[in-house]
């Protein structure tokens, strides 16, 4: 089932909060996972794994390095759901 971009952003924010303790409203589309949210590569892989399950999509491991910002991840998930 396809989600709106807002729903995907909110869902990602919940996952990031669960994994890192970061407040959900800190997770904005223009934020960089590494530079702004301080998420390391292992946590990123955890977030991607949880996102795959939540949004019922496949995010190939080689794609993860291209997901620099939260917005990149939202766009990728939206496209994968389409």
């Amino acid at each position: 089932m396809a989600n709106s971009n807002e729903e995907i952003l909110a869902g990602l924010a919940e996952i990031v909060n669960e994994e890192t303790g970061l407040a959900t409203d800190a997770v904005q589309a223009d934020k960089s996972f590494t530079d702004d949210l301080d998420i390391d590569s292992l946590s990123m892989m955890t977030i991607v794994t949880l996102a795959e399950e939540k949004f019922e999509v496949r995010i190939p491991d080689e794609e993860v390095k291209n997901l620099t910002t939260v917005g990149d991840a939202v766009a990728f998930i939206a496209q994968a759901q389409a």
């Binding site: 669960e18 994994e19 890192t20 303790g21 292992l42 892989m45 955890t46 794994t49 949880l50 795959e52 399950e53 496949r58």
Partner: protein, 414 residues
């Protein structure tokens, strides 16, 4: 032993079925309270488990740790972290050179919850759903690793895995780290989080567990004629060990001295102890020699005493064989009657009890012993704590494990 530095205890921490910290735990033990109860975990009703009770943590880990910490640590590491933080703060959280600080945190079984849950995930959802930290979480050394990171310990971080002797072996190893000059301080202890359907099913199939489901608090009854097996417990205990002159120089509060350790192996069987008790007896004798004391100096033994029909008798005979007639006036406590058996955490929690017994000159009671085994060759402290003598005193903590691992630790006043 005169050429070796004295090693003292300057910090204590624990979370276990009796309490979420040292103070409440010790008060509970002296009051003869049981921490054993019907398990409240959601998985209990999901399986047809033959045993539905254990020593479950008095204060759940999620009440203490932040949620991201909980997610990154197997329960075994969570418990160790809670205990280590209390112990380190209790020691004054000194700023010392990390290269002179070590950690030794033992586990008997390791991250069984993480391991089994991850395998369930593979079967139910496929390999892509396995989280990347699964292996670092299930490794038995992960509690030691987390504790070393927490306190900045760089002199070495070690994980003895010797079943139910693990926690005592950790303290023995820490003692030797300091004696041999590898560290000035060591954060040492043991942890276990095996209140999980798999260990329960296995131990029950071995007929090693009490099945007294209708009377959890009365189920662990060491040396009682009606004992029917051990009661599983969960939790951790951590001590801060320190070279005595180092502790004195920084004005630390000293609880007691760890005066000696004895270790031996039965080389007999992977589960039951050598019924002759020879290995247990040798560990005890070596510990006394290592501490430079004789049985006449001993006033208290915290026995391993799990409440299994066979094990308790072997230990009582080994204590008698080693201590001889001195055993007539050595107070023996079996604190698993109150906490259940913390497996890899047991030797650490019981060392903590032994240290506090020496400090407060009080041997904790053994509860649930309505009918002691006839002809029991030791002086069991029952029902109420017993005062220990004044002056210089020494006590021993015994810890024995599946596989024939035997450890005895000697504790004295500082």
């Amino acid at each position: 032993m005169t050429d070796q530095p004295n090693v003292v205890v300057t910090g204590l921490g624990t979370t276990n079925p009796l309490g979420g910290d040292v103070e409440s735990t010790w008060a509970g033990a002296l009051a003869g309270r049981s921490g054993v109860r019907t398990l409240t975990y959601d998985w209990v009703s999901r399986y047809d488990l033959p045993v539905t009770f254990a020593g479950q943590l008095a204060v759940p880990a999620e009440d203490v740790l932040a949620r991201p910490e909980m997610r990154r640590m197997d329960p075994s590491a969570q418990f160790a972290m809670i205990a280590a933080r209390e112990a380190w703060a209790d020691a004054g959280a000194p700023e010392i050179d990390g290269e002179r600080l070590g950690t030794v945190v033992a586990s008997g079984i390791g991250g069984v919850t993480t391991l089994v849950n991850a395998w369930d995930t593979i079967k139910e959802k496929g390999v892509r759903r396995v989280l990347p930290l699964t292996v670092p979480m299930l490794m038995p050394n992960s509690p030691a690793a987390y504790v070393s990171i927490e306190v900045g310990a760089k002199a070495g971080s070690h994980t003895p895995v010797s079943a139910c002797a693990s926690g005592a072996e950790a303290i023995g190893y820490a003692l030797e780290m300091i004696r041999t000059g590898r560290a000035d301080m060591v954060v040492a202890g043991g942890t276990e989080a095996a209140t999980h359907p798999l260990p329960i099913a296995s131990f029950a199939k071995m007929q090693a567990l009490s099945t007294r489901n209708d009377d959890p608090a009365g189920a662990s009854r060491p040396y009682d004629v009606d004992r029917d097996g051990f009661v599983l417990g969960e939790g951790a205990a951590v001590l801060v060990l320190e070279r005595e002159d180092h502790a004195l120089a920084r004005g630390a509060t000293i609880y007691a001295r760890i005066a000696g350790v004895g270790m031996s192996a039965d080389a007999y069987d992977v589960a039951p102890p050598d019924p002759s008790g020879a290995g247990q007896s040798r560990a005890l004798r070596l510990a006394l020699e290592n501490a430079g004391i004789t049985p006449a100096d001993l006033v208290h033994v915290n026995a391993h005493a799990t409440s299994t029909p066979a094990g308790d008798g072997v230990e009582a005979a080994a204590i008698r064989a080693t201590l001889g007639d001195d055993a007539d006036h050595i107070a023996v406590s079996a604190t698993k009657s109150m906490t259940g058996h913390l497996l890899g955490g047991a030797g650490a929690l019981e060392s903590l009890f032994t240290i506090l017994a020496v400090r407060d000159r009080k041997a904790p009671p053994t509860i649930n012993v309505a009918n002691p085994e006839p002809g029991l060759p030791i002086d069991l402290v029952r029902d109420a704590p017993r005062d220990l003598p004044s002056g210089q005193i020494a006590a021993v903590n015994n810890a024995f494990g599946f596989g024939g691992h035997n450890v005895a630790l000697v504790v004295t006043n500082a």
